[in-house]
C-alpha cells in the first residue's frame, strides 16, 4: 500500500499545470502514456500518487490501468528515491558470480528491501537485469558509477565512500 498524504490547493494547482504540460508535449502520439510517465519520473525521481491521479483525470485513463503500467515496468518508481542509488546487477553472469550474496549484504547493512529506500532517504536499492558489464561480474552501480568484481566484504567500504562523497 502506498502512503496517504494530503496536499494543499496550491500544490494541486501546480500538479495540474505540470501534468497538462507533459500531456500536451505528447498529445496524439501512440503509446504516449509511457512517455508521459517517463517525463513525470524524470521530474520527481518517481511517480507520485497525486500526479498519477491527476494524469488519470487529464487523459481519461483509469488509475487502475496507470498502475498496471507503473508496476509492470521495473523502471518506474512509486516511492521517492534515495539520495544515492545502488543498483545490483542480477543478470546471468552476475548471478552466477555471486550477486545474490551482494544483494543480501546491501540489504542487511542498509536495512532496506529490494526496490525500497532507507528510512533516512539516503540510499535506494534496486536489483536490475544485465547492465552490460558481464566481464566485471558481479557488478553494481552506485550513483551511476560502475563497481566490478565486487565481493560482499567490499560493500561496507562502498557505502562509506558514497556517504562521504
Amino acid at each position: 500500500m502506498s502512503q496517504s498524504s494530503t496536499i494543499t490547493p496550491n500544490e494541486k494547482s501546480d500538479i495540474r499545470k505540470e501534468v497538462a504540460q507533459h500531456v500536451s508535449n505528447w498529445k496524439g502520439e501512440e503509446g504516449n502514456l509511457i512517455m508521459i510517465l517517463h517525463a513525470i519520473q524524470n521530474q520527481h525521481g518517481y511517480v507520485p500518487r497525486e500526479v498519477a491521479m491527476e494524469l488519470s483525470r487529464e487523459v481519461g485513463v483509469t488509475l487502475g490501468r496507470i498502475y498496471e503500467v507503473l508496476t509492470f515496468y521495473h523502471y518506474f518508481k512509486l516511492v521517492p528515491p534515495g539520495k544515492h542509488n545502488i543498483s545490483v546487477c542480477l543478470g546471468t553472469a552476475c548471478y552466477l558470480k555471486g550477486a545474490p550474496a551482494l544483494i543480501n549484504e546491501v540489504k542487511s547493512q542498509l536495512k532496506v528491501e529490494e526496490g525500497g529506500t532507507t528510512e533516512d532517504h539516503e540510499f535506494h536499492l534496486d536489483v536490475v537485469r544485465c547492465i552490460g558489464c558481464c566481464g566485471m561480474a558481479p557488478a553494481m552501480t552506485v550513483d551511476g558509477r560502475t563497481c566490478g568484481k565486487v565481493k560482499p566484504e567490499d560493500i561496507s567500504k562502498i557505502i562509506a565512500e558514497t556517504k562521504s562523497a
Binding site: 488509475l63 487502475g64 498502475y67 509492470f72
Partner: protein, 581 residues
C-alpha cells in the same frame, strides 16, 4: 463450418469456435479454472491443455480455435498427469483452509482437487501473506486465495467498466489488487459483486452477515421482519437442486416464518410502489415538462454509485424514487408499525437481495433513515439466505407453500419483472400509460425491452405520444446510451430517449452479484423466464391495480409524489469522487 475430430468423434462447428466450446457440443468437459462463459479466454490456468495429432504442443483449449482436420485428444493418462501437476502447482500457492472458507462446497478449485484425487501436498506450500480487505462492507477480498485467473478483473474492467480491480506487477509477483493499490473502499468499486460471482475460489466473497441476522432472530425484544426481492425467488432453488428459474416464492415465505421472522413481506409489493412514484415522475417530466428528461431509473444501488462517481452530469435525470428495498423498509417501520401497533424501534428489517450493493444502499444517504430508524437493518444476498436455511434444519424442498403478510405482501406482475433487465421499464410503461390515458394498455408485454441484448432501444406509442426508451445492463453498456444523450444535448438536437433503465449487472438482478454461483447467459435467461412466466400468469399485471397499493395511498400516503410520499419514498444524489484518496 469446420470439420474436425474430438476423441475420435466427428464434429462440425462454425469457424472461430474454440476447442473448449466444440468439445462441449459432443459432451466432453475439458477442465478449466480460468475460463468463464461470460468472458474472453485469458489462458491463465493451463488446465485445459489438449493434444493435437502430429503436434508436440499442448495448446490451451479455451484460447485455441478449432481448425479443419484437427484430431484432438482431450483426455488420456498423460494429459491427466500434466493437469494434475498444474493443479498441484496452483494449490501450492493456495491456503489449505477449505473448511473455514466462504466458498467451502461451492469452490471450483476445491471441486477440481476432488476430481483429480489430490490426496497430499506434493509441493511445499508457499502463500504470500497479504491482509484481507474487508473495507467496503459489501465485498471481502482475501488476496491469498487468488489463483490469478483474471476473471474478476475482466468483469470489473470490461463488463462493468468500473476498474476497481487490476493486476499489479508481473510474472511470479503478479497480484490482483484494487486499482492503484489502495483499499477497496477507496477504489472506484460500486459494490455490484460481479467479481464475487465470477471468482472461482474464495478470494472474493460477499460480506457474510448471517450471524448478525441469527442474533436478531434470537433477540426476544426484536420484531424481525423480512422482505424478498423479485429475482431471489427464481434463483434460490439452485442451492437446493431445483432447475434454474423455478419460482419458489411460496416455499420461501414458509421458510422465512420457520426461520423466525414475525412478518414476511415481498419486495415485489414495494416494486409496485416504486413504479407508482417513478411512473408519476415520468409523466410529470414528459407530459408536464417538470424536470429533466430523459428520466433514468435509480433502483440499482451499484448503478447509482457508478453514476455519482463517473457520470454526475446526469444527477438531475435520476428518478428520486427510492429502490423497492428502501421503500419496503420505511413502510414497514411507519405504515405497518402504525397499523399493527408495534413500536417501530423494535422492528428489525432484513432484506433478501440478489445483490451485494444492497448492503451499501442501507446507509447510502440520511434518507435511508426516513422512518426515524434504519429503514432496513441488514441486507442478505441469496447465497447467504441459502446458507441460513441449511443452518436452520428446515427441509426446504419438502416445505408446504405459505403466504406473505397481508399488508406489504401482495404484488402484481409488474413488481415481479423488476428482477430482469427491462422489467422496471416495462412496469413503468404499463403504469405511465394508464396515468396518461386513464386506460390500461391493450397488451401488457413490451417485448422490445426484454432479453439479454446489452442495450435495447424502442419507440413506444402512448396516446399519440412517441416515447423513446433505452435499457442498458452491464455497466459498460451505459456509456454508449449516455453519450448519445450528451451529443444530442450539445448539438441542440432532439433527445434520443425520454426514459432510460439501467441495471449494473448483466441480465439485471436475476444475474446479480449475490446470486447462486455459476451464472451465465443460459442461467440468466432461465431465471428471467421464471419471472416473465409468473407475470404472464397473474391476474393483476399493473402496479396501479394492486389493491394494497391503492389502500396504502388511500390510508396513508395520499397520492404519488405527495409531501408524505416525498418525505418517505424519495432520495437525492450527489457527485462523489472516483478515488477517495
Amino acid at each position: 463450418m469446420i470439420k474436425a475430430k474430438i476423441n475420435n468423434i466427428d464434429i462440425e462447428v462454425p469457424e472461430g469456435t474454440t476447442i473448449l466450446d466444440a468439445a462441449r457440443k459432443v459432451q466432453v468437459k475439458i477442465p478449466t479454472l480460468c475460463k468463464h462463459k461470460d468472458l474472453l479466454p485469458t489462458a491463465a490456468c493451463g488446465l485445459c491443455i489438449v493434444k493435437l495429432k502430429n503436434s508436440p504442443k499442448l495448446p490451451r483449449a479455451c484460447a485455441t480455435p478449432i481448425e479443419n482436420g484437427m484430431e484432438i485428444t482431450t483426455h488420456d493418462s498423460e494429459l491427466f498427469e500434466v493437469r494434475k501437476s498444474v493443479l498441484e502447482l496452483i494449490l501450492s500457492n493456495h491456503p489449505n483452509e477449505c473448511v473455514t472458507c466462504g466458498r467451502n462446497g461451492t469452490c471450483e478449485l476445491q471441486d477440481l482437487a476432488a476430481d483429480f484425487s489430490i490426496r497430499e501436498d506434493k509441493i511445499k506450500r508457499f502463500v504470500r501473506d497479504i491482509p484481507i480487505d474487508n473495507s467496503n462492507g459489501s465485498i471481502v477480498i482475501d488476496f491469498r486465495k487468488c489463483v490469478k485467473c483474471g476473471r474478476c478483473i475482466e468483469v470489473c474492467q470490461d463488463i462493468q467498466n468500473v476498474w476497481a480491480l487490476s493486476f499489479l506487477e508481473r510474472g511470479i509477483n503478479t497480484r490482483m489488487a484494487p486499482a492503484g493499490d489502495i483499499s477497496l473502499k477507496d477504489s472506484p468499486c460500486v459494490k455490484c459483486g460481479q467479481c464475487s460471482a465470477h471468482c472461482p475460489t474464495g478470494a472474493i466473497i460477499e460480506n457474510d452477515e448471517t450471524e448478525t441476522v441469527w442474533k436478531a432472530l434470537r433477540d426476544e425484544n426484536k420484531y424481525c421482519t423480512v422482505q424478498i426481492a423479485p429475482s431471489v425467488r427464481v434463483a434460490l432453488g439452485e442451492a437446493f437442486g431445483y432447475p434454474p428459474g423455478t419460482n419458489l416464492t411460496k416455499k420461501i415465505y414458509t421458510a422465512m416464518r420457520r426461520l423466525g421472522f414475525k412478518a414476511v413481506f415481498d419486495t415485489n409489493f414495494s416494486a409496485d410502489l416504486t413504479i407508482m412514484e417513478e411512473a408519476s415522475e415520468f409523466v410529470e417530466r414528459f407530459a408536464h415538462g417538470k424536470g429533466a428528461l430523459p428520466l433514468i431509473t435509480s433502483c440499482c444501488p451499484a448503478w447509482t454509485d457508478f453514476m455519482e462517481k463517473m457520470h454526475p452530469d446526469f444527477i438531475d435525470n435520476f428518478s428520486s424514487a427510492k429502490s423497492p428495498q428502501q421503500m419496503l423498509g420505511v413502510m414497514a417501520k411507519t405504515y405497518f408499525a402504525e397499523k399493527m401497533k408495534i413500536d417501530p424501534a423494535k422492528i428489525y428489517q432484513v432484506s433478501i437481495m440478489p445483490c451485494t450493493a444492497k448492503k451499501y444502499e442501507l446507509e447510502r444517504t440520511d434518507e435511508m433513515h426516513a422512518s426515524g430508524f434504519m429503514d432496513v437493518d441488514v441486507a442478505l444476498t441469496t447465497r447467504e439466505l441459502a446458507r441460513m436455511i441449511k443452518q436452520s434444519g428446515v427441509d426446504f424442498n419438502e416445505l408446504p407453500d405459505g403466504e406473505p403478510d397481508s399488508i406489504l405482501g401482495e404484488y402484481t406482475g409488474a413488481g415481479t419483472i423488476f428482477g430482469a433487465t427491462g422489467g422496471v421499464m416495462e412496469a413503468a410503461i404499463r403504469t405511465a400509460y394508464n396515468f396518461v390515458t386513464g386506460k390500461n394498455m391493450p397488451a401488457f408485454n413490451v417485448e422490445a425491452v426484454r432479453g439479454m441484448k446489452g442495450v435495447k432501444e424502442a419507440e413506444l406509442e402512448v396516446a399519440g405520444h412517441k416515447i423513446r426508451v433505452a435499457v442498458a445492463h452491464g455497466l459498460a453498456n451505459v456509456e454508449h446510451v449516455l453519450n448519445k444523450v450528451r451529443e444530442a444535448k450539445k448539438a441542440g438536437k432532439e433527445l434520443p430517449y425520454h426514459f432510460i433503465e439501467v441495471m449494473a449487472c448483466p441480465g439485471g438482478c436475476i444475474g446479480g452479484g449475490g446470486q447462486p454461483y455459476g451464472t451465465d447467459d443460459d442461467l440468466r435467461m432461465k431465471r428471467a423466464k421464471g419471472l416473465y412466466n409468473e407475470d404472464g400468469e397473474m391476474k393483476i399485471r399493473c402496479s396501479h391495480d394492486n389493491p394494497e397499493i391503492k389502500r396504502i395511498y388511500a390510508d396513508f400516503l395520499g397520492k404519488p409524489l405527495s409531501g408524505k410520499a416525498h418525505d418517505l419514498l424519495h432520495t437525492h444524489y450527489k457527485a462523489r469522487p472516483i478515488y477517495q484518496r
